[in-house]
Amino acid sequence: MSLAPSERAPATGAATTTATGTPAGRGTHRHPGSARRGRRRLLTPESVPYLLIMPAVLGFAIFKAYPIAASFWISLTTGNGDDRQFSGLANYRRLLDDPLFWTALKNTALILVVQVPLMLGLALLVALALNSTKVWLRPLWRLGVFVPSLTGLVAAGVMFSVILNRDAGLLNWVLSLFGVDRVNWLGSPVWARVGVVLVITWHYTGYNAVMYLAGLQGVPKELYEAAMVDGAGPVRRFFSITLPQLRPILLLTVVLSTIGTLQLFDEPYVLTGGGPDNATLTVTMYLYNNGFKYFDFGYASALAYALALIVSLLGILQVRLMGERR
């Protein structure tokens, strides 16, 4: 990119600036008291990127960093409204003795262990199918698979609460055609969990499949050709070429899905309200209840930090386990 002389001029002045950023001997180069010159210096090719990222940095500082720090402070306090007293780690100790927190964590972990592998496996199968040249009308199928992830989370929850209704739901009607008894999808602890898993899987499989599809299309065809020349069958090609080549994307989807599942809120909130008997209560839902229903902001903040810690540890663990075997 070429620069106008006026823009280039200050750049040459850079040589006179010391390593500490002190404008050594600057006074000899510019008119004393020239404000106009000073302003011009602010807009240099080097400064423009900083100016451009400034709104984002400020936005982050005001709307993210400050709330994060404030939330940590609140997690160390108890009290109402502005009247907060420092209570040290009391909220965190309370967390350890709270059966509902452990129930919520257990539910979340259960959904994580069951749903994430199921969904990612399904997404991989879908991606493989969509990548096949034998599939007719591929763009249409791809669109169809991706569309559920465009649905609003609450809308998906409401839709499934109608589909899963025991007496008038679509799913039980379909099952009845095959002579299957009505399932109390949202009224029994086990089936309610299955219901939540169903909704999330429906919602996010296509999203992950599209990521895998992108990864599959990046695998060099020569690898497959070479393998075929060597006599490798489709299964061997899948395990020896496709999977290793997809590893970075697999890692990405596993980490994103783990974080997403740990923050699960909307679907079970709309679908079951956390019930029955807390079978689908998630950590974020419990956090929300404590903050916005019980007005216990100190405890809710402690929950948020506990969750953040768990998410970070799991993320690091996954990257270590999957990322370094390259």
Binding site: T17, G21, T44, S47, N80, D98, R166, A192, P276, F295
Partner: protein, 446 residues
């Protein structure tokens, strides 16, 4: 890397931008209303009101006469929807009152919590003269509006006395005399007869607790003069009264008289299909039933709710709603004038009742002829009168406290454990009460 934009420059720029943002933020702050008014206790200008659905519609009906009688004040009633309104008010109060409307419509399930957790959040209406209306409202509501500072923070608007709506035609078909049903024991005994004759179950309940609808359990406690907390705020969730309430529910369930109404619109559908013989609901259901099920006109009647224990009390106030003024309102006086106008004038309150079905808490409103008029939907029964009679019979004040939501959740869990897993009511409630005490730091009543 450039050295031209020194760290000092960066800091200067950041400070300037932050100041700019701050100024912008200040410019946009203030109460939800806009327009004139001036000072903190502005007596004129535009005030905003937050309410929901039919209640908001009813409030809008008051606006023309209020604006005519109070030149200089204009009112904007906003329907935020329920439950969205609670998040909005909570967030506003938690952030020091920023962005709140001048007038807030608040339910009894939230009001004590707001007063307790945000003691500076709702305006002191005693200063504006609210105490003079103390005896104007039905018994049992005034203690709810008093904060820890002994000041009044809301005026009662709606009160919901409990009744038992029942399908008169089903009772006749099953040869059950409603007058003979004085306790839930009697209903549990009559239930199988009704079911055999009509195929209908006695009542519906959200068994897994998807929406935490604990009204029936609470009603059974309120009929015994009890609740989750006693007057001192101690936890009474494991009291004999609570165990009795949950035992009645368990017996109804065990006898196959309880339909599961979990899920969107299930209760409505079951009533529409004629599969429920009774509905232990408060006064708002008078209009709701006639509005939603016009085809069932003439088939319903209302009776006093049966007692939770044989020989026990038969009146209860299920819930109530209130109007408050936010403490940060720039037009508190104007907001108070609107509240006082809407809630203490019988003509206005009855106008709202007519348009929104909000049963008034103002005693003077009951002298209106419509409260003794026969209702064709209920076969010519004077339904409103039966509810007024129930209110004048007197119902104790219910101490919802600031921890009601937590209590509700734990009670709902206990009920689900009993109905879904067959847990013992006493054991489930004992565990719930223990947890409630632990989580709130409250004592358990002996």
């Amino acid at each position: 890397m450039s050295h031209h934009l020194s760290r000092r420059h960066l800091l200067q720029l950041a400070t300037a931008s932050a100041a700019g943002l701050g100024l912008t933020a200040c410019g946009g702050s203030g109460s939800g209303g806009s327009g004139g008014g001036g000072g903190a206790d502005g007596d004129s200008g535009k005030i905003t009101v937050w309410s929901w659905t039919t209640a908001a519609e009813a409030l809008r009906g008051v606006v023309p006469s209020f604006e005519r009688d109070n030149p200089g004040i204009t009112v904007d009633v906003q329907d935020l929807g329920n439950p969205a309104i609670w998040d909005k008010i909570t967030v506003g109060l938690a952030s020091g009152g920023k962005g709140l409307a001048d007038v807030l419509h608040i339910g009894v399930d939230y009001l004590p919590g707001y007063m307790e957790k945000f003691p500076q959040g709702l305006a002191d209406l005693s200063e504006l003269g609210a105490d003079q209306h103390k005896d104007a409202f039905v018994e049992g509501l005034w203690p709810t509006v008093i904060g820890k500072d002994k000041a009044v923070h809301a005026l009662p608007w709606e009160v919901n006395p409990l009744g038992l709506f029942y399908r008169h035609d089903y009772f006749e078909k099953a040869d059950v005399d409603p007058a003979s049903l004085t306790s839930w024991d009697d209903l549990i005994a009559a239930g199988p007869k009704i079911r055999a004759a009509t195929g209908a179950q006695l009542l519906g309940l959200d068994k897994p607790g998807t929406v935490q609808d604990m009204d029936f359990f609470q009603n059974l406690m309120q009929l015994q003069g009890a609740f989750y907390f006693d007057a001192e705020g101690r936890v009474t969730l494991a009291s004999d009264e609570a165990v009795q309430a949950l035992t009645v529910i368990k017996r109804l369930n065990d006898a196959g008289l309880l339909a599961d109404t979990a899920g969107q619109g299930t209760w409505k559908r079951l009533v529409g299909q004629g599969k429920l013989a009774t509905a232990p609901y408060p006064a708002w259901a008078i209009e709701y039933l006639s509005d939603k099920f016009p085809a069932q006109s003439g088939k319903w009647r209302v009776m006093q709710p049966p007692a939770a224990v044989p020989g026990g009390g038969r009146s209860a106030i299920v819930n109530s709603t209130f109007l408050s003024v936010s403490a940060t309102s720039k037009r508190r006086k104007a907001a108070w004038r609107f509240i006082e106008y809407a809630l203490t004038k019988p003509a206005e309150i009855n106008r709202m009742f007519a348009s929104g079905g909000v049963f008034p808490a103002l005693k003077a409103a009951y002298t209106d002829p419509k409260f003794s008029a026969p209702d064709p939907f209920y076969g010519g029964q004077k339904v409103l009168k039966s509810f007024v009679d129930s209110l004048t019979a007197g119902a104790g004040a219910t101490n919802f406290t600031g921890d009601y939501s937590r209590a509700l959740k734990l009670a709902s869990d206990a009920q689900s454990q009993v109905l879904i897993k067959g847990a013992d009511p006493a054991e489930a409630l004992k565990a719930a009460a223990k947890q409630l005490a632990q989580q709130t730091g409250r004592q358990q009543a002996a």
